[in-house]
Symmetry: C2
Subunit: 341 residues, 2 copies
């Protein structure tokens, strides 16, 4: 079974290549009978067009590149699922690449996607400013970019994510409304997302006239799990020794939340009686933690879906030479109340 080409069909039916091409794209300028004959032959022999040749000619690949830091992170894998679903629906495909939190690898991914001729790139940028001018160049020319997740990235385009400050504020207020006052905030190293969440946390304290204690902030380097665990345990010990043990913990990322609940259980610290816990988390298993975890869950699939749709919007507008008005879409994250607070 060699790959069937238009030429093959043309020869078999004694017609010309353009005729076959037009018939298969259901052109009105082809006679109904010939068209039927051609379509029948194509189907019968399972003709699949050569997308490469078509793209080379049309300058369109119907492939969108997607760059995330790690596929297996459940937040991203849900986003990817949303993107894939929408893309199939619109007759697009996606090439997924992992930047692994490295600006250099990210640059490489962009290069590769560009050389593959993708029609656009959806990206959750690794850092606040890396590859910014490069992406801006691409975006200004033939390869539009849409940002998701890290929406404080300084590129002038569509950006889809959640309002991190608002979500963090809401979570903190949830704790305060239940009379937790001494709240430890555990977060990652300083970046756009964690800073926003910290700001939301502090906002909620302020509004409720609770003074923010510097000692109630722990910033962890998330790249080594073992270190993260040690740092959390040390912090808890330290506070305990100073008789300032928190009555609640608010964790700012998936990893921190899921590890913390495990650590507390391991230390036989009762949740929520001794310490309450609320945190950002996108796992499907939060309900199976014990106690079931109260968490802030991002609408990941929807973020993916919207990001893809906005990309299509750009492509269509550019095709029609219409100007696109970019917007940053901040979705609300859901707080799912279970039993850990």
């Amino acid at each position: 079974m060699k790959k069937l080409t238009l030429k093959d069909i043309a020869k078999a039916l004694n017609l010309s290549v353009p005729t076959i091409s037009k018939a298969l794209s259901d052109s009105h300028e082809i006679n109904k009978d010939t068209k039927e004959k051609i379509v029948a032959y194509a189907q019968q022999h399972n003709y699949q067009h050569n997308a490469l040749a078509r793209s080379l000619k049309t300058g369109k690949t119907n492939i969108i590149g997607v760059i995330v830091s790690t596929i297996s992170n459940s937040f991203f894998s849900e986003i990817l699922e949303g993107i894939e679903e929408s893309s199939l629906f619109q007759h697009y495909n996606i090439i997924i690449m992992q930047s692994r939190e490295s600006p250099d690898i990210e640059k490489k991914c962009i290069d590769i996607l560009y050389s593959k001729g993708v029609d656009g790139i959806l990206i959750s940028p690794v850092s606040h400013d890396a590859n910014l001018t490069y992406l801006q160049q691409l975006h200004n020319s033939s390869c539009p970019i849409v940002i998701f997740d890290r929406i404080n990235y300084g590129l002038d385009t569509f950006k889809i994510g959640i309002d991190n400050k608002k979500a963090a504020k809401k979570a903190t207020e949830e704790l305060i409304s239940r009379n937790y006052r001494n709240i430890l905030h555990i977060t990652g190293l300083s970046n756009g997302v964690t800073n926003e969440r910290l700001a939301g946390f502090q906002d909620a304290l302020k509004i409720n006239k609770i003074t923010f204690q510097e000692s109630n902030l722990l910033r962890c380097d998330l790249s080594h799990i073992q270190i993260v665990e040690d740092e959390i345990l040390n912090k808890l010990d330290e506070l305990k020794n100073q008789h300032k043990s928190p009555d609640a913990i608010f964790t700012a990322t998936d990893l921190l939340t899921n590890r913390t609940i495990g650590l507390l259980a391991q230390q036989k610290i009762k949740i929520p009686e001794e310490i309450a816990l609320i945190g950002f988390s996108n796992t499907n298993y939060a309900f199976s933690f014990n106690p079931p975890l109260t968490c802030i869950s991002q609408p990941a699939k929807k973020i993916g879906k919207l990001a893809f749709e906005k990309m299509i919007e750009i492509l269509e507008f550019r095709l029609k030479k219409r100007e696109v008005v970019y917007e940053t879409i901040t979705l609300d994250a859901d707080i799912i109340i279970r039993e850990s607070i």
Copy 2:
């Protein structure tokens, strides 16, 4: 910034297109000085080759298609991570598609990948026999296939997965060695994987001279979570009423394991004191369940890595017209002992 082509560079440097092409692929037949001049110009202007045109000419895209049922399933997302990592290393890219457990969608995915001209397809087939002849045709001609996960699929090629029977047997024996005798096995509807696992379960019982009770087998339709939960609770009730409550449960899939631990906690059934639990699970959060979950974890990333490497092996052997000897690689799954048994 329009996309730079060889023609542009040729014009700028007053050379011919083939000369540029050869220089950039570091051909020995180009003068060192010219080569340097060309390479310098290309780098300075960030030339990225047009992969489409190259592929059309060479008949090779360096893209591998990957088909899984759901990206966001943690087992698959880990496999995907392994595949992506290996592919980058070998200068390949991957197009990921989701078959969503439907043979029809699977067929569509294959068609699309084929039309995109992928050099090969890695697939975890949805069913035992769907699309078998189609895949066999592709594999026999220009598009090799490698199977992962569902390795009892009847295609003559490389297959990478785990020995499901062995793993299930080991897990059951682990229970028996701890003196659990009345074990409930919860699994999905009959298919290659679940049948193997059931066989392993029964094997272990037999060897230990424990009679298998039909009432100790529950098969759930996994497509609706709510129904799954109801079925599990009903089964537990039923057994309790007959004074045949199990002292241990062995669950055969991720979903079942993670739901079951949640349900038992919700019912205030103490694990492992009242009922012990062991199950297949590939989540990163098993340690955060309470008690930490003892589970059988598949080497997902390694499966992905091997699948990709075997694909490269086929491609290289075919290029050299050497015959490939296919093998089915069954890896061992790890049993991670924590505190639920």
